[in-house]
């Protein structure tokens, strides 16, 4: 933690970055995002198991962008997010520093290729509990899945916290806000809830890096990450690509390779 604070102090004092986006202690002992612009306040930074939010979400906010060049405290999921954002032309090369803490040290990553190398070196497999959760879900029949989601979505209050938490939901105007025509009904009823949640998941197909912030943000406790994880598995099986591995766009749903397996077309 001390190494992280020192690095932040150093970067801010030297003027290398204008803001360090990291975790600080919030109310009730919870970790919250902090935006440190003054080197003297670097001591507020923390990094421990409570720091789970994907801070890359702030990179996409115009008010944060206006602060100037940022250094971002990056968990493994955040590193993947930054690569995917770069693949979607949202992060310019060299426009960002990433502070990746690991074992008391802090790696400073300036180049996307360095981020790629670090992501490649990390263990990307799901944990045992997560694997079992996905396996339980995949074991359901289509009817069971439909019933499962209808039950889950019945609790959705359309607060769009999942959208706000997701660093890849950065559109200047979300489809849900289009009203000429109105694609997704506004009220939180069964049809509107289903359409919104399915659309959210489909818009992340081939893009989601599985940070899990959608589920963490959901006040109704809907396991939204299950939809995304299943899509990640389908995209990986069908196209042998996974988002958040490379800063080059090889988006599964918008690129075509002559040797793509086409066994899903029958």
């Amino acid at each position: 933690m001390e190494a992280l604070r020192n690095k932040a102090r150093e970067l801010l004092a030297a003027g290398t970055v204008k803001v360090v986006i990291g975790y600080g202690r919030g109310s009730g002992g919870a970790a919250r995002a902090v935006f440190i612009r003054d080197a003297a306040r670097s001591g507020a930074l923390i990094y421990d198991d409570s720091c789970r939010q994907n801070l890359a979400v702030y990179l996409m906010k115009p008010e944060v962008r206006r602060l100037g060049k940022a250094a971002l405290v990056a968990s493994p999921a955040t590193l993947r997010t930054v690569l995917q954002l770069a693949a979607e032309n949202q992060v310019p090369e060299g426009g960002l520093l990433l502070l990746a803490p690991a074992g008391g040290e802090v790696a400073v990553l300036a180049e996307l290729s360095a981020v790629e190398a670090r992501v490649a070196a990390q263990d990307q497999d799901l944990g045992r509990a997560e694997r079992e959760e996905l396996a339980r879900y995949e074991a359901m029949t289509l009817e069971q899945r439909r019933d499962f989601w209808q039950e889950q979505f019945a609790r959705c209050i359309k607060c769009y916290a999942c959208r706000a938490a997701c660093p890849l939901c950065y559109c200047a105007r979300c489809t849900v806000e289009c009203n000429q025509p109105q694609w997704i009904p506004v009220p939180a009823h069964d049809l509107g809830n289903l359409e919104w949640n399915v659309m959210r998941a489909m818009h992340l197909a081939g893009r989601c890096v599985d940070c899990g912030d959608c589920s963490r943000a959901c006040p109704a406790g809907i396991p939204l990450h299950l939809l995304n994880r299943r899509l990640i598995a389908v995209v990986r099986e069908s196209f042998a690509v996974q988002a958040g591995r490379s800063a080059k766009s090889d988006n599964a749903l918008s690129t075509f390779k002559p040797d793509d397996p086409e066994d899903f077309i029958r």
């Binding site: 032309n89 105007r173 289009c178 766009s249 988006n251 918008s254 690129t255």
Partner: protein
């Protein structure tokens, strides 16, 4: 307030036999916004169009729905009629109640209801239509012709004679293609080279044609009227300006053991060579793969003997860039090399040859100077078996299609053999004889009746050697499938015509589609046979499907006519039914967030990046921009865009949505 006119066509009986057209018209009149609704026997006729024009003027219509056939048939007719009456043509829509309704359903209540629903959706759509203006694109009046066979030569000459510049690219050292390898041509038996070489010379001398031989297309960017081609001129290893084509180098080259491509492997050539005496251009190339100097660093004999010091061993490939307005693809075909038929022994027995090799044996410029001598021992064969459909029409082992030219050239081969070996016995094994074409059937009959060619209907199962003879085993299906065994001295396989080995790669460079056999796909099999689905790229010759010379030439002239039509104006007018990226008031400017995932999805490379800058030049955001010249309005980007920032003019989200709503909200209607 919308003032829509609905015009219901009977199409003779095509529609009125199953749809109650009068009822469609009276029901349409009840739809809110419809102020005029009539039916008429032939709406596309002149009086029918007059009905539309008069209603526009008298009733001040703001939109027109013609309930008739597919928009692919008469949409242009009615849009022109609307324009003549002063209504923007894009405020006219076709409700397809023929292909989508009357032709596919029985007469009955439900059929009429469906027709009414179709009209209802189009009325809802046309209310949201906006007046659109055609797009104008400049045209570069230079054509790129890929392939210097007979099709490419014909297309290049026709375009050049129309007064336009042509860049002709040929991958081999000389133009001429397969036709230059042929001995005589059916059905007239005139010498192939005698009719081809004047055309080749004309290409070389034409002031409008720039020839890049021994060159290949590296890449093609841009769009109709405005392509940018990159051409790789492979190093000939000599200075073409200094070389006089004297041929001394090719005579002195000590390496003479390389199988000649031109002689289909039957003859030999040196490492520095001109493929054939009438080559255009008549300049040698060094085959770097075989040349002793490139392999061992020694020799350089050609350099020593060259009187003009033209040899350049270190010459690099050269990349030439050119702006062109249209492309004619005439890259030709290949034959399926018969090694996939092990039971016919091709490659195992020297005297089992393919059709192209027989052409070289029969040709005066070939390895035997036109005498029919078999490759193994040079003897004149007494009996020759010709096997048609060697690979063609064989879904199990070869290809399922008919290669089309083999019946004719097999008859020609058998005749040529008889003309040269009077006592010889030609036997043709065939499945069917397909001789459709002017003077073709007569030609085959002449082979049978005047030249005594024996035709045996049946497939050959096996060929093997026995005592210096090739035993051809088959069956005669006209004699009750009686087994046939023939001892032949030479066997000629009419192997299938297939696409060029690099056809797929080139198609991807050109962004044109191709079929399962890698032949290039035409835009419509009947009505647009020389166009591809990519505007400005046309097809000629056997790269599209196996073809004979007259067909290749006809298609080449067709492609040239299309290019001529394109080049007849300095600006190209296109329908504005294209994708557009939205613009919004500041501070959003555009709802596009610039992820550019649409860029990869666009099959036409129509999406570029556009920087939105403030008055001070400060970059505000980078968004997608659709090039109106390239966009074909396919809508792939529209479906992909998460924020719905791209819309297709004429098929906007709003229009399609209101069509769907019109169906869902049709309300309390009976049934």
């Amino acid at each position: 307030m919308a003032r829509i006119g609905v015009f219901v066509c009977h199409c003779g009986e095509n529609i009125s036999a199953t749809v109650d057209v009068a009822r469609v018209a009276s029901e349409a009149a009840k739809i809110p916004g419809v102020v005029h609704s009539v039916d008429y026997k032939y709406m596309c006729s002149d009086p029918g169009q007059q009905l539309v024009k008069a209603a526009i003027q008298e009733k001040g219509l703001t939109g027109v729905v013609v309930a008739a056939c597919s928009p692919r048939m008469h949409e242009p007719t009615f849009r022109r009629a609307c324009a003549e009456a002063g209504l923007n043509p894009f405020l006219c829509e076709m409700a397809n109640i023929r292909e989508h309704c009357s032709w596919v359903h029985e007469k009955g209540e439900a059929t009429t209801h469906k027709a009414i629903d179709i009209v209802r959706t189009l009325v809802a759509k046309v209310k949201k239509n906006r007046a659109l203006q055609p797009i104008k694109v400049p045209v570069t009046k230079t054509a790129l012709v890929l392939g210097g066979g007979i099709a490419g030569i014909q297309a290049a000459l026709d375009i050049a004679n129309a007064g336009h510049k042509v860049i002709l690219v040929e991958k081999e050292p000389s133009i001429g293609g397969h036709m230059s390898q042929l001995s005589e041509t059916f059905p007239t038996l005139d010498c192939s080279q005698c009719i081809l070489t004047p055309r080749m010379v004309e290409v070389a001398q034409h002031p409008n044609i720039t020839l890049h031989s021994y060159s290949e297309l590296e890449g093609l960017d841009g769009f109709i009227g405005n392509f940018k081609a990159r051409i790789r001129r492979k190093a000939r290893s000599l200075d073409e300006k200094l070389c006089t084509g004297c041929g001394l180098c090719t005579q002195k080259c000590p390496l003479r053991r390389i199988p000649s491509e031109f002689d289909a492997g039957l003859g030999l050539r040196p490492a520095i060579y001109v493929p054939f005496p009438q080559a255009v251009p008549n300049k040698p190339v060094i085959d770097r793969e075989h040349c002793t100097y490139y392999r061992t660093g020694k020799c350089r004999l050609c350099e020593k003997v060259c009187p003009t010091q033209a040899i350049r061993f270190d010459q690099p490939d050269e990349i030439v860039e050119a702006d062109v307005g249209a492309v004619v693809v005439a890259t030709g075909f290949d034959i399926k090399h018969a090694d996939f038929f092990p039971e016919y022994g091709y490659g195992k027995y020297k005297d089992v040859i393919d059709g192209l090799q027989f052409e070289r044996l029969a040709s005066a410029s070939g390895p035997t100077l036109g005498e029919i001598r078999r490759p193994s021992d040079g003897k004149v064969p007494e009996t020759v078996a010709f096997i048609a459909c060697a690979g063609s029409r064989d879904p199990a082992k070869g290809i399922e299609y008919c290669s089309k030219i083999c019946c004719m050239y097999t008859a020609k081969h058998a005749m040529l053999y008889r003309h040269k070996v009077h006592h010889g016995r030609p036997v043709v094994f065939y499945m069917d004889i397909r001789a459709g074409g002017k003077m073709y059937e007569e030609f085959v009959r002449r082979a049978m009746e005047e030249d005594g060619v024996q035709y045996v209907r049946g497939r050959v199962s096996r060929i093997y050697e026995r005592g210096g003879k090739l035993v051809v085993k088959g069956a005669d299906t006209l004699l009750g499938a009686r087994p046939v065994e023939l001892e032949a001295d030479l066997v000629v396989l009419a192997t299938a015509g297939v696409a060029q080995p690099g056809a797929e790669d080139l198609a991807q460079r050109l962004h044109v589609s191709y079929d399962a056999h890698r032949f290039y796909a035409e835009a419509h099999p009947k009505l647009r046979p020389v166009e591809t689905n990519t505007a400005g790229i046309f097809l000629a010759g056997a790269c599209q499907a196996p073809k004979d010379i007259p067909e290749s030439v006809a298609q080449a002239s067709g492609a040239a006519a299309k290019v001529g039509a394109l080049f007849s104006q300095s600006e190209l007018v296109r329908e504005p039914l294209i994708a557009v990226v939205d613009r919004q008031a500041p501070p959003v400017y555009s709802s596009c967030s610039g992820c550019f995932l649409c860029q990869g999805a666009c099959p036409y490379q129509a999406i570029k990046r556009e920087e939105i800058r403030g008055r001070d030049g400060q970059l505000i955001k980078t968004v997608a921009k659709v090039n109106p010249g390239l966009c074909q309005g396919c809508g792939t980007c529209v479906a992909l865009c998460r924020s719905k920032s791209i819309d297709i003019q004429g098929y906007s989200h709003e229009q399609v949505y209101s069509e769907v709503l019109a169906l869902l909200n049709r309300g309390e209607r009976d049934g």
